[in-house]
Amino acid sequence: MSNDEPMVVDDGGDAEKQNWPGRWNHVKKLLERTGPFAHSDFEASPEILGFLLSMCKVLVIGAGGLGCEILKDLALSGFRQIEVIDMDTIDLSNLNRQFLFRLKDIGQPKATVAAEFINKRIPGCEVKPHFNKIQDFDESFYRQFHIVVCGLDSIIARRWINGMLLSLLRYEDGVLDQASLIPMIDGGTEGFKGNARVILPGMTPCIECTLDLYPPQVNFPMCTIAHTPRLPAHCIEYVKVLLWPQEKPFDGVAIDGDDPDHIQWIFEKSQQRADEYNIQGVTYRLTQGVVKRIIPAVASTNAVIAAQCVTEVFKVASSCCNPLNNYMVFNDTDGLYTYTFEAEKKEDCLACSQIPQTIQVSTDDTLQTVYDYLCENPQMQMKSPNITTTMDGKNKTLYMPTIESIKKRTKENLAKKLTDLGLTEGQEIVVSDQTSPTSLIFVIKFKVNS
């Protein structure tokens, strides 16, 4: 196929952006022609490519296994106004899949190196890097984007950005203002498995709605670690959690999973423990895997999921086809398996429903009960929630674990009964946690004892 005539494309009129003849031939077929499977709103036009090239702002969160692929795919689909956030630096073990990085880049910020590579390889592309945590930015930053794509390896971070985009929604007389809606496309991978989803905040299920799709991390019971180890992993966990704090090697520093000397120390001690119990199978590789909670990863799965995410970005930005509705899982261990389904919005979702959350307690319950509920309940899964309330018109801190001095002062409240703390039926408590950028309100309701 050859269509090498100079393009007549409205790219915002910026000649410096180096559009050589035929550059966008492939993409134009989908944007300048309609078809029976196009979105009902779609109107084929050269202006769409122009929009992608010069106006559409995309935020990419993560510049690792998924992020590198997402950046490449976006750039080669016509997106140019891209910003990328990543708080990590490059490690040797990244190089088997994070292809924008080379040996010489080890130690450098991922976002910066990734942006430089893409901008150099794809003329006209303007990826702007941010060597930051997502929490470093506020609404004014996130509000500027048309679409957000996430290639994260943390559920906490996903929940946070989910909460942030929800907080940007504006309602007028109870009706959602579509202009305040920023679609979020999220991908995740683990070994040969992956998933991709499209979230339209306020309209389709959000991350919190489907929190049970991410089962809480299973930890070995302490009594197994301490008294009845059976597996090599138990021995390693013992050294990591009990022996290291006791023996304080390397001048009492915390375990650094990336320090080979630390891993070697843990490995040798784990072998000793294993020998005591006649357990076989402790290896250096297993030791590192347990200490760092390593998840296996390959280039191919990341390529697949990132590509699906960017296909969705392309569809959402252009309307050239219907977007994924709304969740796809992928697995290529045995043949190739994809399954697409419509996840459902949770009516009483912690994050996106407008329904006030209630906590049912009994009159004997203590603040600890509430704290445990917030952490352990599969729908909550908070990490270290701060709990405050209002009493007699004044703000009262019930427990604040994230600030050391206040934690000490309020720790005694945990053992106190809620009624003793002055909480009454229908009282609101305000909870803030790293899993959400905004505070959440819960209403206390006392169960009637039977």
Binding site: M1, S2, D4, Q18, W20, P21, H26, V27, K29, L30, R33, T34, G35, P36, F37, K72, D73, L76, S77, L92, S93, L95, N96, R97, F99, R102, R121, P123, G191, F192, A196, T224, T228, P229, R230, L231, Y277, N278, I279, R285, Q288, I294, P296, V298, A299, S300, T301, N302, A303, V304, A307, T311, F314, D332, T333, D334, G335, L336, T338, T340
Partner: protein
Amino acid sequence: MAAPVNRKNVDKKAKYDRQLRLWGDHGQALLENAKICLINASATGTEILKNLILPGIGSFTIIDGNKVKGEDVGNNFFLTQDSIGKSRAQVATELLLELNNDVTGNAVEESPEQILENNPEYLKSFTIVIVTSLVERTLLDLSSILYAADIPLLVCRSYGMIGYMRLVVKEHTVIESQPDNAHEDLRLDKPLAGLVEYAHSLDLEAMTKQEHMHTPYLVLLYKFLEKWKEMHNGQVPKNYKEKTSFKDLLRSGIRKNEHGVPEDEENFDEAIMAVNTALNPSKIPSEVQGIIDDPACTNLSSESSSFWIMAQALKQFIANEGNGMLPLRGAIPDMTADSKRYIQLQNIYKEQARTDCIAVTSRVQQILTSLGKASDTIQDNEIKLFCKNSAFLRVIRCRSLTQEYSPDSAATQEISMNFENPDSEIYWYIMLRAADKFYSQYSYFPGTYDDQVDSDSVKLKSCVCSILQELTLGALPKEDYIQELCRYGACELHSVASFMGGVAAQEVIKIVTNQFVPFNNTYLYNAMTTTSATFQL
């Protein structure tokens, strides 16, 4: 004897750490010995290679007679603006090599047609050949040469919002299929002698509280099963009702404190949870039964591969020492127990697995002798791996393209079965076949030129009808497919190419490492509906 640890080895282990946890050092070694051939450095092609170079494939060769065009640079990460007019094979090779210093690669600036004409033997030097953007005629010629030479072929293409992949390998055997949800091999329906003896040596009543709550659930299941069998004519619980009843029996064994409240005994909880699966009759999986009944297993010759020789030994074992069962896997799941008794139990299973493996090994040796082959043709550790994975053995045999494309041997039944679903991906298979037919008649793909889209759809429709007739199939359920295919104009969207690059590369890795199970044999991906399907054509 450990290999000397030098900086390069250590660095590679660190670099590849995340993937070594999936296919191990032995899988990696096979990857590093592989020679990959890619025909046509299209976006799909270079994306496939990227995902093979990053994990450290040994070497690659790109065969491509084309010069780089402006639109190629637009969708391909491994071509640049200043490479327009240069050899596409050369440019792509250079930029791909930057991804991994451990990998070597070279470019052959010739068309595949030229290679087939002048030097077809060259293709036989590769571990696997991958083709993209190949016209049908050349593809069929190439495929029959590779099939005859037993070289695996993977065809991959991205066409608008559609992805297509076809695997052609005569026979591919897998020992380490590593299934996601394998059942445990506990043999409670035919308890190990060692387990019986061990269980009898333990008296639950006489145990202290600690001993009682740390007795492994395997032992509990055995003991309570014995009780049940006494009450039920030697039969194990079979249906839902009986299993529920059995769970109650187990529950009754939980100790109570002085107030009559049941203690928290996790081992009993585990036993109760295990009832649903642990009591199912141990049997030979149908895949494995198929393998030991396969003529390749029953009719051995000196040409037979290690896999089939071991399969024959397995078959003999099952009929003799195994008493109708596979060699014991030997692994048991973790369970609440004190360390000492867990290890004891684990050793019982390991010991039986070892005994079974020795029996299989001896049979392998006998077979090798009878075939006039040296006894070290198959190493002991290979046999051990085979025994450990005997429940997971898989064999893939793909039909050739000749078979697929010849009307009298085409998979008409498979296709028409899927025709019943008007949204089936099979319709995109038909459309791609029709597009190729269009190309062979008109030398361009439908919808390539803006001013001919409408007239092309008329011509395409007759190509579709012709294919449907050839394969004696019914009509298309809707004209939509024809319109949409013309819309695409055979464009290659990067994100679709990248998706296919990912799936294709992993299939290549499966073939090369002999781990995990490849698809058989046609995969269609629809990026519009975000669905995909596999067909055996």
